[in-house]
């Protein structure tokens, strides 16, 4: 991912892991382990990534063995890593992501885009955010950076 600035995962996950197959048990985990590929110790491969969004259930929840995906992503060098601390439903998450990218495209910071996407999801779903209000951002600052205009190569 050396030259990529934005990374977006949309799929199943659990505390400390993301699932990469619909029917089998193929995962990527946050922390080093002896079973699955992992993020920890990526040797700077993620350092050029400004934003990573891990849109899955509990992607910002700590597991004693596998770690915390959003947090580990930040530790590995991603400027801003978004995850969720609750289960999230596919209807609301799909809607949320559409609104999130829309607000980023409008020039909002990641923080404001996230807040507004959650608000829009509440509006669209009659006050039921489907867990999307459990979003967490890990960064060096307060996730107030924008990604538009793009900063590739900076």
């Amino acid at each position: 991912m050396n030259s990529d600035n934005v990374f977006f995962f949309d799929g199943h996950g659990g505390p400390g892991r993301l699932q990469f197959s619909a029917s089998s048990d193929q995962f990527m985990t946050a922390k080093t382990n002896s079973v699955y590929p992992y993020l920890q110790g990526s040797n700077g491969q993620l350092a050029d990534t400004v934003l990573a969004v891990y849109m899955s259930c509990n992607s910002a929840t700590l597991d004693d063995t596998y770690g915390n995906v959003a947090y580990q992503s930040f530790v590995e060098g991603v400027d801003m890593s978004l995850g969720w601390t609750n289960t999230i439903t596919s209807g609301q998450s799909d809607y949320w992501s559409g609104r999130f990218w829309y607000w980023l495209d409008e020039g909002c910071s990641v923080k404001i885009a996230s807040q507004r996407a959650t608000s829009d999801t509440n509006t669209a779903y009659g006050g039921n955010p489907g867990g999307m209000d459990s979003v967490v951002c890990r960064s060096n600052g307060n996730c107030a950076m924008t990604i538009d205009p793009a900063r590739a190569g900076v």
Binding site: D10, D25, M28, D63, Y102, K111, G127
Partner: protein, 270 residues
């Protein structure tokens, strides 16, 4: 154990995302705004009037207006020159969502949660027209930690009819670090009887069957009124979850008609 091949990962993720997006597309509202309506003079004028009714003060310049679909209709989403955002119901003219910088009247900086609750009460009583008449009850009072995006303080109310949560609800969220406030309020006339024919236990079994849940499933449900075209339906929202050996949540949310027992929609976990 080898480290992950990230280039390979990207292609897998893109493929998986496309599959999930396509499969879910039919069950969600359109999440794209329409083209700008800023050149539509009557719409701009009406929007300004509606926002002024809500805020009680003249509206600054408007930077953008688009049409946005919701679960029971459409709103104009208006962005002002001071970067406040208002969602206005196109049928009623009511402001049903607001994302605004807090003025001195509603500042919560440095306040504890009970003091924030008092501010939230004052805001919702002032801005939700029928708050007292609807006999709204507090259903949520929560602090959400968004990590480096700060904390959010959420207060939500809902009007009930018998045991059913109706479509009339309100919420106020504070982000004290940013001095911002998010408001949502919908006021809908109740159009259906709220006594279910389908018992709650039966609804939960129907919900569990919809996701082929196992014996370890944790299931809960609530009786709600939902929009149905120009009318409404009484339904059970059944939330069921079961974790597999890898900690992945199976299940989701099922909407079951509380009169007929029909499954109206399913919304699986991501």
């Amino acid at each position: 154990m080898t480290k992950i091949n990230l280039s390979k990962l990207i292609s897998i993720v893109i493929g998986l995302s496309l599959i999930l997006t396509c499969s879910a597309a039919a069950m969600v509202p359109d999440n794209q705004n329409s083209k700008s309506l800023l050149s539509n003079g009557p719409v701009v004028t009406t929007a300004k009037e509606n926002i002024q009714k809500f805020t009680g003060s003249p509206v600054d310049a408007i930077n953008g207006i688009t049409l946005m679909k919701t679960y029971d209709g459409y709103v104009y989403q208006v962005i002002t020159a001071t970067d406040n955002v208002y969602d206005i119901n196109i049928k009623t003219g009511m402001v049903e969502a607001a994302m605004i910088q807090m003025g001195n009247d509603y500042s919560v900086k440095g306040k504890d949660i009970s003091s924030m609750k008092a501010v939230a009460d004052a805001f919702v009583e002032e801005h939700y027209t029928n708050f007292a008449n609807k006999k709204m009850t507090l259903v949520r009072s929560q602090v959400i930690d968004h990590g480096d995006m700060g904390k959010e303080y959420v207060f939500s109310w809902n009007a009930k009819s018998g045991e059913a949560y109706t479509l009339s609800s309100a919420s106020v969220s504070f982000f004290p670090d940013d001095n911002t406030l998010y408001y949502h309020g919908t006021d809908r006339e109740l159009l259906v009887d709220t006594i279910p024919k389908l018992p709650q236990d039966d609804a939960q079994k129907i919900g569990e069957r919809a996701f082929n849940m196992g014996s370890e499933a944790e299931t809960q449900s609530r009786l709600v009124v939902i929009p149905s075209g120009e009318s409404q339906k009484l339904a059970w929202i059944v939330d069921t979850v079961e974790y597999d050996k890898e900690g992945i949540a199976n299940g989701g949310s099922v909407t079951v008609d509380a009169i007929s027992g029909e499954v109206l929609s399913t919304n699986p976990f991501n």
